[in-house]
């Protein structure tokens, strides 16, 4: 017969094996809870970054941070509470196998000289199938770990969902305009660099086919993608700055998510329309070398763009960054173009104006200008840069007066008119606005 000490060592060794298994399972469970919670929060943020408003996203960001930190703290606390010592493992094994404290007593070994100690070991050995680690903790992988791949699957699904094109949603035009300085800043980001052809920055009528413009933007190359991000970044920044509780970190995170997903062109059209209805510059789309159909859609008249007679510049020399700005603005045009049901009331028969700049392939349009009659003196703002187009914004009174002239269907599309006016066209535009 083996000595008692060896038997106690066997019991202790088995308890150590059981302890390592149980602690490993506990570690896996807590890690699974923490990681899957963090992933779930990230998934929620991705979906909200694409779908929800800026305020909702900001709230969700802080909530996600709080939930993630809470989950990590809870996981740590639970790990600390559930981490088993050798005595605790023995007690657990006693309860599970109905040994009435034999393992606990054997591990403690309170009386090494007792004559009854050998009896305790003998009873334990006879019941060894009940308290072996393979019996009490047969599994080595916690089922809770399945939460992690499940959360990852949901995360990837949300990414694909965010990348997939969605039907255009129309957001009603807010009557309260955004602060002008931000608009100017956004527009300034979209300005062509110095030396660019100013004719390319001419006012272009927005494409009536907004969806076509959007799809074109989606099919763009990487330079277009970055350009879209830049253009949309200004718009998103304007949104977040208006939202109560918004933060720069939240907006940055949102932009980063959108930039990473490339979902702003698809989803941001509606939001961009809501926050920046005018869009500033109309999109001709013809400048983009990747889009041969743009020249066909760009010249389509868009009455919601402001009721101006405009020319569509099809300057083939415009490429690169100009395309970026145009793409971002094209979303605004798309938003206006969707209001096609009331266009026939706004447009009259097309007639040449004779004011188009020389060298531009102009398509004259006759547009009612009565909507701007009340606010004409305030509509023209001084140009910020001599070589850059300026934004023309309505005053509040003028906008309300113009809204009064429009029908109910037209009012949502009666955006603020912020039009880029090239320096050489300044006199022409001033003459138009001061005629009445």
């Amino acid at each position: 017969m083996r000595s008692v000490s060896v038997d106690v060592a066997e019991v202790e060794a088995e308890m150590r094996v059981l302890r390592s298994r149980l602690n490993a399972l506990t570690l896996q469970r807590t890690a699974a809870i923490g990681v899957s919670t963090v992933i779930a929060c990230g998934t929620t943020l991705i979906v909200l970054a694409v779908e929800a408003s800026a305020f909702t996203f900001a709230v969700a960001t802080w909530s996600a941070v709080f939930v993630s930190l809470s989950a990590v703290a809870y996981a740590g606390w639970r790990l600390h509470r559930s981490w088993l010592t050798l005595e605790a493992v023995a007690s657990f094994a006693d309860r599970r196998s109905g040994l009435q404290g034999r393992l606990t007593t054997a591990i403690a070994d309170p009386a090494p000289q007792s004559r009854l100690r050998v009896l305790l070991i003998e009873q334990l050995q006879s019941a060894s199938p009940l308290w072996r680690a393979a019996t009490l903790a047969p599994q080595r992988i916690a089922r809770s770990l399945l939460l992690v791949p499940l959360a990852l699957a949901v995360l990837f699904a949300s990414i694909f969902y965010a990348r997939s094109p969605a039907p255009m949603t129309r957001t009603p035009f807010p009557l309260q305009a955004s602060p002008l300085p931000l608009r100017v800043a956004s527009a300034a980001d979209m300005m062509p660099p110095a030396g660019a052809d100013p004719a390319g920055a001419a006012l272009q009528p927005a494409s009536a086919d907004g969806e076509t413009s959007t799809r074109r933007a989606t099919q763009g190359d990487s330079s277009q993608g970055s350009g879209r991000s830049d253009a949309d970044g200004g718009s998103a920044g304007g949104d977040l700055s208006n939202a109560p509780g918004a933060s720069s970190s939240g907006s940055g995170l949102r932009n980063a998510i959108r930039q990473a997903l490339g979902a702003d062109a698809e989803r941001g059209g509606a939001a961009g329309t809501a926050s920046d209805p005018g869009g500033g510059v109309s999109d001709s789309g013809a400048d983009t070398p990747h889009d041969p159909t743009a020249s066909d859609t760009a010249p389509q008249p868009n009455s919601a763009a402001g009721g101006l007679t405009q020319t569509a510049a099809t300057d083939p020399s415009q490429t690169g960054q100009r395309a970026d700005a145009q793409t971002g603005d094209g979303r605004g045009g798309a938003g206006h173009g969707s209001a096609g049901s009331s266009q026939s009331e706004l447009f009259e028969a097309a007639a040449p104006t004779g004011n188009a700049p020389a060298g531009a392939a102009a398509k004259p349009m006759a547009i009612k200008l009565g909507a701007f009659s009340a606010a004409a003196p305030q509509q023209v703002e001084p140009q910020h840069r001599p070589s850059s187009p300026t934004l023309v914004s309505e005053s509040s009174d003028g906008r309300h007066a113009r809204l009064a002239d429009l029908s109910a269907e037209q009012r949502p599309d009666a955006a603020l008119q912020k039009l880029d006016v090239a320096p050489e066209h300044e006199a022409f535009v001033r003459r138009i606005f001061t005629r009445e």
Binding site: M1, V4, E87, S91, Q100, G101, R102, T104, T105, A108, P110, A111, Q113, S114, R115, L116, R117, V118, L119, L120, I121, E122, Q123
Partner: protein
């Protein structure tokens, strides 16, 4: 009227023998498995050795068998009262003393006498009265003349016995009651500057009469604390009453047979007591017993220990208890639990073992205040509340 206790000359050598002269029960390895041979070899072998598992099992089986035989012998005479009998036997093998409280006529004296007969141990009975003196219990020095020479010789009192029945102990004065203090705690008596060892095993069973409180002296707390258990002897049930009156009014009254051989009874009891102390107790269970004892001490007591109680203090303990249990209560818990573990065939103590002996171990150690007496609070109910809380929280 004081009943003069007889002095048994045969106990003289036992009184002079030191307590630690009892043979150490050891079993050499490889001994035959039967309990009897294990017992005999333990008596013969002087060198301690670690037994094998079958021998250890034999020791446990021998204990259980002996316990069962004693219980059977007592059941021949005592009708019913099985729980009381079991608690008394647990206290006997745990090495403690028992205070029995019961109304007259319920068989307290008969129970103790029958136990002494079953164990085949020497038995003395002292009827405590108000004029009983300490020397009547411990013995005294008497002038003895032999061959023309006179000398003072110590005449042993009735306390020199293996089993001592202190009947109606609360009728003696505190001075006489205190004569038992040293004997119960130290297993010795000191008379005229000379210490005399009491014969092991020394087992005191005292009875209390809860009625006729006129002319009685409640036991001091110091003496109460020296009793391992306090058990209550209830009235017998109707069926038991029928058996009692039928058996005690006829000529065929049952007789108790001795379980142990005459000269080895004391050694056997001591051997079993030693085995009880070898039962294993995990540190968690010692902590649990200590927590139970600590929970009996009210916060308001100026002797309350510092630091929080491991168990939540019961509101009724704070309200009704003036002084809680002493550390002897914890000793009683563990010793009683060890006996219960052996009776269950186990070599180790469980929580349930401690719970089962908590009431008899602690109920007489709670010193209740006036509010408790006014509200007729039973200390056993307080301990039961503590056990319920301990089961919910500590386990």
């Amino acid at each position: 009227m004081t009943e003069r206790p007889p002095i048994d000359p045969s106990l003289t050598d036992l009184a002079e023998a030191p307590a630690d002269d009892a043979p150490t029960p050891t079993i050499s390895p490889g001994t035959r498995i039967t309990p009897r041979t294990a017992r005999n070899s333990a008596a013969r072998t002087s060198e301690p050795a670690r037994p094998s598992a079958p021998n250890a099992q034999a020791l446990v089986d021998d204990f259980r068998d002996t316990f069962s035989r004693i219980r059977t012998e007592l059941a021949k005479v005592i009708v019913g009262q099985t729980e009381v009998i079991e608690e008394i036997l647990i206290a006997l093998f745990a090495g403690g003393h028992v205070l029995i409280e019961g109304v007259p006529g319920t068989g307290k004296t008969l129970l103790v006498r029958t136990l002494a007969q079953a164990l085949n141990l020497s038995f003395n009975r002292i009827q405590f009265t108000v004029d009983l003196m300490p020397a009547d219990i411990t013995g005294t020095r008497m002038l003895h003349e032999q061959d023309g020479q006179r000398e003072l010789v110590f005449a042993k009192g009735p306390i020199f016995a293996h089993v001592l029945l202190a009947d109606e102990i609360n009728r003696a004065t505190p001075k006489t009651q205190s004569a038992l203090l040293e004997a119960m705690a130290e297993r010795q008596v000191t008379v005229a500057g000379t210490t005399h060892k009491l014969p092991p095993p020394f087992f005191v069973l005292a009875t209390l009469n809860p009625i006729e409180m006129e002319g009685t002296y409640p036991l001091p707390e110091a003496q109460l604390d020296r009793f391992l258990f306090k058990v209550f002897l209830p009235y017998p049930t109707a069926a038991e009453m029928q058996r009692i009156i039928g058996e005690t009014t006829s000529n065929n009254a049952a007789q108790t047979g001795p379980v142990f051989p005459p000269r080895k009874a004391a050694a056997r009891v001591e051997e079993l007591r030693a085995l009880v102390r070898e039962v294993l107790v995990a540190p968690q269970l010692e902590e649990y017993a200590a927590a139970l004892v600590r929970a009996t001490i009210p916060r308001s007591s100026k002797f309350a220990p510092a630091g929080p109680s491991p168990l939540p203090l019961d509101e009724q303990i704070t309200r009704y208890v003036a002084f809680g249990s002493s550390p002897r209560g914890g000793q009683a818990l563990l010793l009683g639990a060890k006996v219960r573990a052996l009776l269950a065939g186990r070599a180790h103590v469980t929580y349930d073992d401690i719970d089962r002996v908590a009431v008899p171990s602690l109920n007489h150690r709670l010193v209740l205040n006036f509010a408790a007496r006014a509200d007729d609070v039973d200390p056993r109910a307080l301990i039961s509340r503590l056990l319920d809380a301990a089961k919910r929280l500590h386990r």
